[in-house]
């Protein structure tokens, strides 16, 4: 189980992160933006839980940095929150892996909430804190969409990242 990844598996994971990045920055109506799930966080959680030898804090940090570059925030903003997300996901890994969806959701809520909390703290330090509690609504939508993300990424993983088949 704990062998290093093949190149094609790394590429498959990279492509999935690219997809999540596109989902994050895709132009959507402004009203919907409040409720847009934190795709990148969910993807990071999934890969940390399912392929811990491939995706850890380092990869999560780099993914966050990519988000900062494409999203246009301060460099390091998302990188910081993503590395914490990866750390927490690693802590809760066995719990998330074994539990049914509704119990997974609780762990995911905590992790996504932590990630958002860090982003919020950074924005407050920068002096432009969000003016509405709607800020937290993306956590809820992220949890709601989690089972779908999990199932789809699981399908994707089983097709492209055959870790168990060696």
């Amino acid at each position: 189980m704990r062998q290093p990844l093949y190149l094609q598996e790394k590429i498959a994971i990279f492509v999935s992160f690219l997809f999540a990045l596109i989902l994050m920055i895709i132009p959507i109506p402004h009203v919907l933006q409040w409720f847009w799930p934190e795709w990148l966080t969910l993807f990071v959680i999934f890969w940390v839980v399912r392929v811990p030898q491939g995706v850890g804090i380092t990869v999560a940090w780099l993914v966050g940095l990519a988000m900062d570059i494409t999203g246009g925030g301060l460099l390091g903003q998302h990188a910081l929150s993503m590395s914490v997300v990866a750390f927490l996901a690693n802590l809760l890994r066995s719990r998330i892996k074994l539990f049914p969806f509704w119990q997974q959701a609780l762990g995911v809520l905590v992790i996504v909430g932590f990630g958002q909390l860090i982003l919020l703290a950074e924005q407050c330090l920068l002096g432009n804190p969000p003016h509405s509690l709607l800020y937290w609504s993306s956590c809820l939508t992220s949890v709601i969409i989690w089972p779908a993300v999990y199932l789809m990424l699981n399908f994707y993983k089983n097709h492209f990242v055959r870790l168990t088949g060696r």
Partner: protein, 267 residues
């Protein structure tokens, strides 16, 4: 071991953020990396672009005829208005000559397209598809067909970032077109609201008044429409009135934007 790595990355992120916020060292690198992100933005916009190119072929003839008719009509109307404008422009130039104050009347425009909005709903910053190589400069004012949208805050090689006037960290000097009363419109983080700050209660501003850029401060050229006063709240005991303004530019809808090419004269 895992926790120490986390702490390392946290410190690294904080160092990076501080460096990015306090200094300019990362700007060049950032602009280079943003160029790398361009393919991603292009991919995202490809379906929309494709649709605008292809959709005319699938429209039925009657709707096209209808649209054509409508456009002709609109063109006719704008032409008529332009005639009036022309004579006004001459008159204005003559009067200005009499007053011996020179002023730019014509601005050149560069058309650009919005590629991406900032994923954070509180940050009203858009990425547009024109950059340094197209002659975009820092602080360049941006308008749409109706009014002021914002200004350029970051330029990369082929893209740049435009901050909208409704961003919370943005302020724009405005004046009331009816009587010349000046104020500063601060963004609220809500796409259809600006707030005028520190306006005394006795100021002559009414609901429905049109505000235009005053050109003070040198950031924006004078005379572009900014918004209409939508709310005037006088809270008992408050030293200033709360005045809300609805931007005229279609901030949440326009895909096409215009960059004003002439650099504003220093005040």
């Amino acid at each position: 071991m895992y926790a120490s790595r986390l702490i390392g990355f946290i410190l690294l992120s904080i160092a990076l953020m501080t460096l990015d916020y306090q200094t300019h060292y990362l700007r060049e690198m950032r602009s280079l990396l943003s160029t790398l992100a361009y393919p991603l933005q292009w991919v995202i916009n490809a379906p929309g672009n494709w649709a605008t190119h292809v959709s005319p072929y699938f429209q039925n003839k009657f709707s096209l005829i209808e649209e054509n008719k409508h456009l002709h009509y609109e063109h006719f109307l704008t032409q008529a208005k332009l005639q009036k404008m022309l004579s006004l422009e001459h008159e204005n130039a003559r009067l200005r000559a009499l007053l011996q104050t020179g002023a730019e009347l014509h601005d050149a425009f560069l058309v650009a397209e919005i590629l991406q909005m900032d994923p954070d709903p509180f940050v009203h910053v858009a990425v547009v598809n024109k950059g340094k190589r197209d002659g975009v400069f820092l602080g360049q004012p941006v308008v749409d067909a109706e009014g002021i949208m914002g200004k350029v805050i970051e330029i990369n090689k082929i893209t740049s970032r435009v901050m909208f006037i409704t961003d919370t960290s943005h302020g724009i000097p405005v004046e009331n077109i009816r009587n010349g009363v000046r104020a500063i419109g601060i963004g609220t983080g809500n796409m259809d609201k600006l707030e005028l700050q520190h306006v005394p209660l006795t100021t002559d501003i009414k609901i429905g008044d049109k505000l235009v850029t005053s050109g003070l401060g040198g950031g924006y050229p004078a005379g572009y429409p900014v918004g209409l006063v939508s709310e005037f709240v006088h809270e008992a005991g408050a030293p200033f009135a709360t005045i809300r303004v609805k931007p005229i530019a279609k901030l949440g809808q326009s895909r096409q934007i215009l960059l004003i090419q002439t650099e504003p004269a220093a005040p």
